[in-house]
Symmetry: C2
Subunit: 361 residues, 2 copies
């Protein structure tokens, strides 16, 4: 068995797998990389128990078979290989020789027996633009919970319907969703937030579509070169529609970045426990202020506002900054009152909506 492959191709393939293959594990076989020589080229796989990934790399292959090699060591060696090409020669006696330029190594390999079967569903008819899915997840990910209780909120919910795919995250105090117009079969699934991060990492720069297959407790994404299978969480989010206000007493529009920057400055002086900032909407102006142990910060911004001439509302500055972060250009803030939930929407992107609950006055 022999492989010839450009160093860069191999290194890129390994970089997709490296983050999920554990460097230490109670099941040490998971720290190995299953490497398969097939008629389709070189196939690399890996799993962390939650996410399975398979990467197919074009390569000149002689002979067919599969072995395990220590993943981290192999990746380090490939990255530092001096030549443009890497040659792998799988010899007798569980030995792999790697040659690149003047450099060569021998690595101990292991039989693939005992490595868990990674099952990737066969692609069905449903397809989705990979980078768009990654984008939708990225925009709401911040709102997912990191707390132990209400474990379902540690996931990102994907809601598919004949009109859209919606990514939703919430920690019970805030909520964000992002809608992609799309025609899919109706269902809801919740992906652990960390696995959602892996989907983003692997597919955010992927060109074109991937097939989307929902199986028994798994979501599989099948791309040209990469297949990825993610374990789903059990259950679904409680009905969140009722926390989204429908009527508003004040609507204000301003530039999201200017507001973010102001909040960051003023929040430096906010109370270190609740990061409280006060927003006073007053006759076309927004007055932001915060006060803590060290003093007081204040800044004034221009806004376009309709509704009540004057309204004071307080937020955890970080929550409001988070809600603004996915927004480019203008933001519309819709207040339903000083203590009831506020909406944060992107003026130029109808897909995004965030709900932030004000702090009590």
């Amino acid at each position: 068995m022999e492989v010839r492959i450009p160093k860069r191709t191999l290194a890129e393939g390994l970089s997709i797998l490296e983050r999920i293959i554990p460097s230490r594990s109670s099941n040490p076989i998971l720290t190995y990389l299953p490497i398969e020589l097939s008629e389709q080229g070189l196939i690399l796989r890996g799993t962390n128990g939650e996410v399975d990934i398979e990467v197919k790399l074009p390569a000149e292959v002689q002979g067919l078979g599969q072995v395990l090699i220590p993943a981290q060591t192999f990746a380090q060696i490939v990255r530092s290989a001096p030549g443009e090409m890497v040659e792998l020669v799988f010899g007798q006696g569980e030995r792999l020789e790697l040659h690149s330029g003047a450099f060569s190594t021998q690595l101990a390999t292991t039989s693939p027996d005992g490595y868990p079967m990674l099952a990737f569903a066969a692609p069905g008819a449903e397809r989705i633009v990979a980078a768009r899915l990654a984008q939708a997840i990225t925009r709401v990910r911040y709102a997912a919970s990191t707390e132990e209780y209400r474990a379902i909120f540690r996931g990102v919910q994907l809601e598919m319907s004949p009109t859209s795919l919606r990514a939703v995250a919430s920690d019970g105090y805030r909520l964000a969703y992002y809608d992609l117009p799309m025609q899919l079969q109706s269902r809801k699934l919740v992906i652990p937030a960390r696995s959602a991060d892996e989907i983003v990492r692997v597919f955010k720069d992927t060109q074109g579509e991937v097939a989307l297959v929902v199986g028994e407790g798994t979501l599989t994404l099948v791309g040209e070169a990469v297949r990825m299978s993610v374990k789903l969480m059990e259950g679904e989010f409680p009905d969140y529609a009722r926390v989204i206000p429908q009527t508003f007493v004040l609507e204000a529009t301003l530039q999201a970045e200017a507001l973010r920057e102001s909040l960051r400055r003023v929040a430096v002086l906010s109370d270190r426990n609740n990061h409280r900032v006060n927003l006073l909407f007053n006759d076309g102006k927004l007055d932001i202020d915060a006060e803590g142990d060290y003093g007081r910060g204040r800044e004034e911004l221009q806004v376009e506002a309709t509704g009540e001439p004057q309204l004071m509302v307080a937020y955890n500055a970080q929550y409001l900054i988070d809600a603004l972060t996915p927004i480019e250009g203008a933001v519309r803030i819709k207040l339903s009152g000083p203590t009831s939930p506020s909406l944060v929407q992107a003026v130029e992107d109808a897909g995004y909506l965030a709900v932030v609950v004000p702090l009590r006055v």
Copy 2:
């Protein structure tokens, strides 16, 4: 009391101080920034008990006086200030107002009573190019010890004489020195390695000379805008000249970077405890190999060698890589035998010398 100063000038001044002013301290007053309005401009100071720094900034100043302000909060606010200028107004009742663009804050200030006196020696006649001193320290710093025992090796020794300034560091297993030709009064002093890092950080990009004043247990560097005083360690290095070999059985010359890269590649497979790599000098070739739990790595380089036709020597790969790191261009390695110390020298920079002790075969 009022100050007008470009935001950038103030932020740069603060960045010099920020790293040494502790964010927490058993003596909380050290977390404050003493800020003085003087006829020379704005003067900022700070200390971590080991290193004292004073920075003088050109500013429009009205009124004279000194207050303490919470250093970290102030620095954060200045960095995020929206305007090009920052205005500081020191009011009655221990209050500082900061204005920048549409943003303003009020910060609580404290009386400077109780803040330790920072004494900076008056500049004498001895001067040194600041960036060159920083360079000399940088080139040997890696060799300083991090171990608790033989505490003196946790410092960088500066040896001044009528012909040179030498920076030396050692951990007892290796040694590096760097000589700057220079005319100074003869003396030796040892700077704690961490304080040496601060000297590098503050002066590495400084144009021109600084005055160099050795006082009672302190070294003071006096530049145009910055004064820095560093506590010295007691004692000096044991005589290291005797570990530097004078006769050699083999001398080899090759490109430092190529050797570094080879060592890094081959060392991936080295034993994880001693990072052992074997170097076989053999008839114009250098064969580098290492073997560990996962396999074996090997690479061959061309060298120009004189002396013994063949010699095998083993090193801790990291130690040899460290010794090569300050070298640009070609390196000359001089072997005094397979188990006695080796010299590593830069062919194009006579100032640098490192001693690395081989591992036992």
